[in-house]
């Protein structure tokens, strides 16, 4: 780190790491905000559903006390309005039930979407690990020359060498970093529902 940090490549990698950390923070904040909003929406829906149930119960009680309205639906204008209102209740309740089902589907979609934080966090950790390994290897390349060559400290990108030892050391160390585990923890490219398998 000490030799490498102020080189052009070191600065470049540092910016990548800084960007990745910033993405991780933004994702975390977004996840927290979404969770809060989603929970509030769900609670409001529950209240709405309860209200619909209470309206239905009130209507049943009203019907039990006014059977004559059904016998003379047109004679009294006031009753006509009441009859219209009463006849709209079943339709309204049916519509509310359909809406409730649709909201539940949307809620399920949100639950699935909110899991993006876990997936992206794992991807970010994987990328940061590869960067850290690369940085460590480049640092070792600089230390391994032993012939006065070094990484530049003025933002330059070239290593002052001209010695065969440096080139051979770099080749060997780059071969080592290729051994870094390449299996990705996350292969999903979208937020489609994952597979389920029971053994």
């Amino acid at each position: 780190m000490r030799i490498f940090r102020n080189s052009g490549l070191g600065i470049y990698l540092g910016e990548i790491q800084s960007d990745l950390s910033q993405v991780e923070n933004l994702v975390g904040d977004a996840g927290a905000l979404l969770l809060t909003g989603f929970t509030n929406i769900h609670n409001l829906v529950r209240v709405q559903q309860k209200l619909a149930g209470e309206l239905a119960a009130a209507r049943e009680m009203a019907e039990a006390g006014r059977p004559q309205r059904r016998q003379h639906p047109i004679a009294d204008v006031t009753d006509q309005a009441a009859v219209n209102q009463e006849s709209s209740f079943p339709l309204l309740l049916a519509q509310q039930a359909v809406i409730a089902d649709q909201i539940e589907l949307e809620v399920n979609r949100i639950v699935r979407s909110l899991q993006f934080q876990d997936l992206t966090t794992q991807l970010l950790a994987h990328a940061k690990g590869r960067l850290a390994a690369l940085e460590s290897t480049l640092e070792r390349i600089g230390e391994a020359t032993g012939t006065g060559a070094s990484w530049p400290t003025d933002g330059g990108t070239g290593m002052n060498d001209g010695h065969g030892h440096t080139h051979q050391a770099a080749t060997r160390m780059m071969a080592e970093i290729i051994q870094f585990p390449r299996s990705k923890p996350v292969v999903q490219h979208g937020m489609e529902t994952g597979d389920v398998e029971l053994f």
Partner: protein
């Protein structure tokens, strides 16, 4: 009496979503942040099903499953893995460790509840 599910995941957002889904369906939920925490809570609570991530610090999901299967109380308890891993090799490893099923993230709440109900029957 409501059944209790142990949700083990190092991701707070996943634990939140899993808890929300399961509690909405009437289950009690106990949360754990990694395999070590999960093992402790499995022993301190009466748990009917374990839902565990694979990639976790301190103790991963595979090690947790093996440890749970070593306990008399959890020899045959349903243990579902909920993970981003989807390779056949990983699933085979989970099956060999003693897992009951394998769910790939992101999970769908309806599907999760269906699988949970099925394995707890």
């Amino acid at each position: 009496m409501a059944k209790t599910i142990l949700a083990v995941d190092d991701s707070a957002s996943i634990r939140g979503m899993v808890s929300f889904t399961l509690k909405s369906a009437g289950y009690e939920v106990v949360e754990a942040v990694d395999g070590v925490d999960g093992l402790e809570k499995a022993q301190s609570h009466e748990v009917n099903l374990i839902l565990a991530d694979v990639n976790m610090p301190r103790m991963d999901g595979m090690a947790l499953v093996k440890s749970l299967r070593g306990l008399e109380r959890y020899k045959t308890a349903p243990i579902l893995m909920l993970t981003t891993e989807s390779s056949d090799a990983a699933k085979a490893q989970g099956r060999a460790a003693g897992a009951t099923g394998w769910l790939v993230k992101p999970f769908d709440p309806t599907r999760l509840l269906d699988v949970v109900a099925r394995v707890m029957r």
